[in-house]
Structure formats: C-alpha cells, structure tokens
C-alpha cells in the first residue's frame, strides 16, 4: 500500500515491542500530530470506515478496522476536526497535562480528612523513601514502614495511588519507575481503612 510509511508511524511499534525491560524504563513517545492539508475525493460510505485510498486525510486505518493494540497510537488528527476553537483546545490541553499521562509529572495528593488537596511533582523524587518523607512532612503525619507482605500495617496512614487503569494500588508494590509512569493521583488513606488492602 502506498501509505506504508504513514501506516508504520501509526502503528506505534514501540508500544508492542517485545523487550525485557519493564514498562516505564523508556521515555514515552510523543504522539505526532501532522495536520493534514486536505482530503480530496472522499471514499464512499461503505469503505469509509476503513483506510482511505488517498492517505492525506490521515486516518489511522488500524483503529477504524476495529483492531486495537494494547497501547493505541495517537491517531493523526484532521485539520479543524472536531470543530473546536484552538483557544478552547489549548485551555483544555493544559488541564489534561495536569493529569499524569504516563510521563510522571504533577499529581494531586489527597489526605483523608484534610480540607484541600496538594500537588507534587513525582519527577523530583528518585525513590519511594524520598516520596514518603515528603508526604509525611507536607501533611504532618506518619506513614511508617512498607513491607511487601503487610503493606503499611501498624501505621496511622497508608499511601495509595490510582493507576492508569483506574485501580487503587498500594504505594510501594512496584518498582519506582513503573510507579511514576503509571501513577495518576495519590491518596493517603487512614490506616484503619487501608488494612483491607494489604491482605
């Protein structure tokens, strides 16, 4: 197919690459958004769901034909579609960057019982002890020792985080790099509630 070059970049082969490294040990790829110039001679409706004969309107055929990779590539966007003004897009993009998208940046930290949330930059810390110490200082509480078997048993508070899949996990279970690439927000639970987690 003539658009094999575009096709390859859409496939995001890196995400499905078989490697021995853990997820997170590489810099995440930035999606490329090449604005399309124009789309001519539009395909008829029956085949419109599949790849276009002329690739210039850059639709990711892979996604349209129903296949899904474990890491869907950023679909090349068509110029001016959906019809949202760039001012609005830019404002909302800034908000989305606040939510961790895999690139470990600012995450919200909530503590049960505190009136408002804080934000920390995960990239500032090199390991769990640094992070936990900061949290203890920030919120004036004790988190205590982590053990693989018992979690944070014996502490008043247990740190948890929401990962990419939306699940709440105990902080400390996975290697640091994996943690910061998947952590979306932090919640420091009261010890009594957290005891359920570690068993």
């Amino acid at each position: 197919m003539e658009r094999s070059m575009a096709y390859e970049s859409d496939l995001n082969l890196k995400a499905t690459e078989l490697r021995l490294g853990l997820p997170g040990s590489d810099e995440p790829e930035k999606p490329s958004t090449t604005p399309s110039v124009r789309s001519n001679k539009r395909a008829s409706p029956e085949i419109s769901e599949e790849s276009r004969s002329k690739g210039s309107s850059c639709v990711s055929s892979k996604v349209e034909s129903g296949e899904r990779d474990s890491a869907p590539p950023a679909k090349e966007q068509v110029v001016g579609w959906p019809p949202i003004r760039s001012y609005r897009k830019n404002c909302l993009r800034a908000k989305k960057n606040d939510q961790v998208d895999g690139a470990g940046m600012y995450v919200k930290v909530s503590v049960d019982g505190a009136p408002y949330l804080r934000k920390i930059d995960l990239q500032v810390y090199k390991n769990y002890p640094e992070l936990l110490e900061t949290l203890e200082n920030m919120f004036k509480l004790t988190i205590g020792e982590y053990s693989e078997k018992e979690g944070y048993n014996g502490s008043d508070f247990a740190p948890t985080y929401e990962d990419k899949d939306g699940d709440w996990m105990l902080v400390g279970d996975v290697p640091w790099d994996m943690f910061i690439s998947s952590c979306k927000r932090l919640r420091i639970m009261k010890g009594s509630e957290a005891r359920g987690l570690s068993c």
């Binding site: 124009r38 539009r42 990711s60 996604v63 966007q77 579609w81 959906p82 909302l92």
Partner: protein, 639 residues
C-alpha cells in the same frame, strides 16, 4: 420566489439586513449573557431637525430652519416617525418605498449592521448612513476558527475605522466579530470618538495589551469593554492600570480570554472606582483569594466570571481561607456565572448561595464530574443557559434534565476533542435532556456516539428548537445501535421542529438526509455540513429546497460543479457559501463567477500548494457591491 434577478438598490438593503432579532445572530458563540448589552433593537434617538415635535427649543439642530414646503412637511413627519423604527427588516422595507423614504430612513438609522465586511465598502456605507451611533461588523467566515483558512486572509478593521473617524464623530458603539484589529486601529478609535461608550470584540485578533491600554486611558465615557474569545498578544503593558484613577463609568468589563497576567492591585482599584460595574469576567490569572477581594468590593455584580477558581500556589496548608460562601451570599444579584478555569472541585459548593437565581452558568472550561455537579445543579431551577464539558457524563446530563426545567440553551463541549476514544456522553444524555428540558431552543452537543432514536426523541420533545447542532466526532459514524446512517434522526429534526433556523449535521449521512432538509427545512438559514452526503444530489436538494438559506458551510463532502451550479438562482440571497475539500474545479467556479457578476468568488489555496491545478481547495463566495477586494493575499484568487 426570487429567480435570476439582477441586483438593484434593494439588494444593498439585504446587505444591511440582519437575519434575526437576537444580538450578534444565533451563531454568536460568546459566553451566555441573557441581558446582553448589544440590545440594538432598543436604540432610538430623540434627535430632531428642529421642525418637528421633539425636546423643545433647546434641541440642537444641524440644519438651518427653513419654512417648510408640503413635501418637506411630509418628510419631517416621516423622519420623526422613522426614528422609532428599530427593526432592521422594517427599515430596509421602508427604504424601498420611494426616494424620499430612502433618504429619510438613511438619516434616521442609528445602528449599522454589516454581516460581511466585504459586501459593502466603508465609503459606501458611511455615505448612505450619516448619523450612525453603533456599528456591528463581521469579518471572517466561521470555518476560519478551525484553522481551515490560512492566517492573514483579511477582514481588516483599518479601512472602516478610518472612514468612520471622518464621518461618525458621535460614534458610541463598535461590535466586531472575526475581524483583524490592530493596536493602531484601537488608537484611532480611541482618539476619534470622544463619546465612545462600548467596545465588544468577539473572536478577533491582531491587537495586544498596548491597544487595550490606549482604549482604557483615552475613552473616558467607556461603559463596556468586552473581549470574548479573542486573541490578545502580551505586549508587557499593564493595561488595567491605564483606566483613570478618578473613577470610571464602566458597567461591563470582560477579559476572560486574555491570557496575559494582570496587575491585581490595579484591578482592585479599578473595581473600587467603578460603581456602575455590573459585569466582570476575570481571566485565569486571578486566584480565588483575589476573586474574594473583588466580590467584597462589588456585591452588586450581575455577571461574574470567576477566573481560575483555585487558590494561588502559596496557600499554606491548614490556613483558614477566606469565607467564599459568604462572599457569594452577599452578591444577591448574580444571575450569570462563568470562569472556573482551573477549578478545584472541592471549592464548588461556595457558589451554592447564588444557584437559585442563576439563569446562566458556564462550566465549559471546568473539568467537573457528575458527582461534583449534582449537588450544585440540583439548586439551579431557573437556569436557562448552561455550557458544560462532557466530563459530567450522561449521568450529569440526567441531573440537569431533572432540575433545569427552564433550560433554553445547552452546550456540551468535549474535554478531549479526538475521534478515537470512548467518550463520556452519548444518546443517553441527549435523550434525558430532551425529556427533561422541554423548552429547549438551542443545543450544541459533542459526542462520540449517537442513535437516531435519541435525535428523533428530541425532535418530538423539544418543539421550540431553533438551533440544533450535533457533532458526532467520529467522522462517518452511523447510529451505533442499528448501524444505520443518521439520516432519519436529522430528518425528524427538520420535520418536527417548525422553528428551526440553524442546523449542523454530522455522523454517517447519505443524500437522503439532504433530501429531508430540502423538503422540510423551509426556514433554515444556517447549515453546517462536514463529511456527509454521497453525490451532487445532496447539495442540490438543499440549494433547491431551502429558500431562506443564508449561510452554507460545507467541508469534505462529495459535492461537485454540477451541484454548485444548481444554486445559481439563490446565491444573491445568501450571505456566503463556503465549500472546502469538496469536488469543485476551477472551471465550475469560473462559471459561477461569470454568471453572477455581483458575487465575489474567492478560491483559497493552502499555502503549501500554490500551483493552480484544477482542484479547488476552498471556495468562499459572497455577494458584494464592490467587486473584488483590494486587500487580497497571495493565496487567494478572485475569479
């Protein structure tokens, strides 16, 4: 109806005619404000020429007093009667009666509305209408907002401001939409009109904070400075501090789109010095603490844009913040709330005291979940206008439907404007809204998936719909339950909604959808089409079937020259036609240009493709009294 007639002077009136009576027309995307200051229809003047009933001998008169002859008497009577004629349609009709009426109408018109700045030249407009107090100008076509047009296409304010500086010394109001405005233009405006009162810039660009500073300092009578969705460059000028220290007559100050930080102390002083201030919309650089201080200074505000709605970064932990709830409770007049640019949802309950009175609420920059929304919206019984992000999900929309029985206008914007994601709102939300909000008149709904059934339900439940804009973000996406095209849904809308004047379609659509529009959409004035239709027949149905069509914008649809030619009988009645990425050729467009000499046919090439090949990237054509404009950039050719 009207067939291939050549334009007469009456066509000039259609250029000044406004389509409807709402301010800025229904495609105005500015944040909602029910008591808009652009209430042009109530403009009247008690200015007399000294020979008719009026405010007595003290009234100033430009004309010398001459003994009236019979014709003059008639004309004077007419003049005094015509002062009270406010509707543009009526005025245009009156001007056609005879020369005398034409002349008198021109003398008594005070509001000038130009829907397309290239349809008439500044010179022609200012020569005919000599006593204008308020000017509304619209420039670029709407699709330019979505990067479908290269920058520097045109719509410059400069020639207008120069002409008006000479002929309208008493100009008070200027409303612009999609125009290019420079700092020099603003300076000329500020210097030329000593009684200048109102400047409203919607979707404009080309100017910066230095231009604003000039307006702030020179326009001593300024009541309204509204910057709405405009791009303002940061010239490092603290424009707020240029307002006079001694006090202003400001009633409305809207600058939520201005991305540059402002000097808060200057703003606080300004608010304290502006006792008439009713509308204040802050930009995102104003924190909650600062908002609180301003609210305490101005408890009589009716419209408030809350800025960032989050505390500034250096709030210490555990410190007791200001009492936001009391501040809102003290502002008993607030009916319109917006802003929330960087909202921390935990602070949202602070607005509870004003919810019961709110008629307009704009959450369209606030990433708020259904859970956060529900306790707030359940108090908003009087809400008429609601703009929101799809982050509230179908569940949030159901909550809106349950409470907001007075809702007239709903806009649901996407938090993520992409095509390949799941999407939090769907036909479920639309159905709920249709069942709960029976008085709905205007809807803009972005979603990833939709069904015909929900659209049909809305067509039946909401008979008052005037504006229906549905954007299914996945191109060519069918009804996701039945797999059918979305033809039946949109067909039901044009069939059942007898008041519909504006329609935007999306999803998988065949020519059948356009057949419905042509058959039933008899009062449709604005139609927006993207990635739709099968063949030329689609466009033909619309051009032959919709006699009131004024504005037609089409992109990426398979309509070719034959379809274009089928509209020859109608193009003089339209404000414009836009077609991009369709199947048009230069030859077809040439035919139009030759057949209709009063039409300006612009072929716009994308900047990286300046060779003249047969395919037309973008066609933009509009009626004009002036012929080809003289400020054409190199990527535009006029046929």
């Amino acid at each position: 109806m009207i067939t291939n007639k050549k334009p007469r002077s009456s066509d000039t009136d259609s250029i000044y005619m406004r389509d409807d009576r709402t301010e800025m027309s229904e495609d105005d995307d500015r944040s909602p404000s029910p008591n808009s200051i652009t209430d042009d229809s109530s403009q009247t003047r008690t200015y007399t020429t000294g020979s008719g009933p009026g405010p007595g001998p003290g009234s100033s008169s430009v004309l010398e007093y001459l003994p009236p002859c019979p014709d003059q008497v008639l004309e004077n009577v007419l003049e005094n009667v015509l002062w009270f004629l406010t509707s543009r349609k009526d005025r245009n009709a009156a001007s056609l009666v005879c020369r005398s009426w034409y002349r008198v109408e021109a003398l008594t018109r005070s509001d000038l509305f130009i829907g397309n700045c290239y349809a008439v030249s500044p010179k022609r407009a200012t020569s005919r209408f000599t006593r204008i107090r308020s000017v509304t100008l619209k420039g670029r076509p709407r699709f330019a907002d979505f990067n479908l047009m290269p920058p520097n296409w045109g719509a410059h304010l400069a020639p207008w401001v120069s002409a008006m500086a000479l002929t309208y010394p008493w100009l008070e109001k200027v409303h612009l939409k999609r125009m290019s405005v420079t700092d020099d233009d603003l300076a000329l405006l500020a210097e030329s009109f000593s009684g200048f009162k109102e400047l409203v810039l919607v979707c404009c660009d080309g100017f910066g904070t230095s231009g604003l500073a000039i307006v702030a300092s020179r326009c001593r009578q300024l009541k309204v400075l509204d910057l709405i969705e405009s791009e303002v460059s940061d010239d490092d000028v603290d424009w707020i501090s240029y307002f006079p220290d001694t006090g202003t007559c400001l009633e409305s100050l809207i600058f939520d789109c201005v991305e540059c930080p402002i000097d808060f102390d200057a703003l606080e002083r300004l608010v304290a010095n502006s006792p008439s201030l009713k509308k204040l919309r802050l930009n995102r650089h104003v924190s909650m603490g600062q908002l609180h201080r301003l609210m305490v200074q101005a408890p009589r505000l009716t419209h408030l844009g809350t800025g960032s709605f989050s505390p500034s970064e250096d709030v210490a932990q555990g410190e007791q913040g200001p009492d936001y709830v009391s501040a809102f409770a003290a502002c008993k007049s607030i009916v319109c709330l917006s802003g929330f640019r960087e909202i921390i949802p935990d602070y949202l309950p602070a607005i509870n005291p004003v919810c019961a009175n709110l008629t307009s609420l704009n959450f369209s920059y606030a990433n708020v979940s259904a859970e956060h929304l529900k306790p707030i919206i359940s108090n908003c019984h009087k809400l008429q206008i609601f703009w929101v992000l799809d982050s509230i999900c179908d569940e949030g929309l159901q909550a809106v439907a349950a409470t907001c029985k007075e809702l007239r206008e709903l806009r649901v914007f996407p938090f993520e404007a992409r095509e390949d994601i799941e999407g939090p709102v769907s036909e479920v939300g639309l159905q709920a809204v249709s069942e709960g909000c029976r008085k709905l008149q205007s809807i803009l709904y972005f979603c990833q998936r939709m069904t015909n059934a929900a659209v049909v339900a809305m067509s039946k439940n909401c008979p008052d719909l005037v504006v229906f804009r549905l954007c299914i973000m996945g191109r060519h996406r069918p009804d996701h339950v039945t797999g059918e095209p979305m033809d039946e849904g949109f067909g039901a809308i044009v069939m059942n909604c007898k008041k519909l004047t504006r329609l935007a379609v999306s999803g998988l659509l065949t020519d059948r959808a356009f057949a419905y529009i042509g058959k039933y959409g008899k009062i449709v004035r604005t139609l927006s089409v993207a990635f739709a239709g099968d063949s030329d027949m689609g466009l033909k149905y619309v051009l032959e079937g919709c006699p009131r069509l004024q504005k037609l914008e089409i992109r990426d649809s398979p309509f070719g020259d034959a379809a274009l030619l089928s509209g020859l009988h109608h193009y003089y009645n339209m404000r414009f036609l836009w077609m991009s990425a369709c199947n048009l050729s230069n030859q077809g467009c040439q035919q139009i240009a030759q057949a209709l000499p009063r039409l300006v046919v612009e072929v716009i090439k994308h900047e990286d493709n300046l060779d003249m090949d047969e395919n037309v990237d973008t066609l933009y054509m509009y009626r004009s009294l002036e012929g080809p404009r003289d400020d054409v950039p190199r990527f535009v050719s006029i046929l």
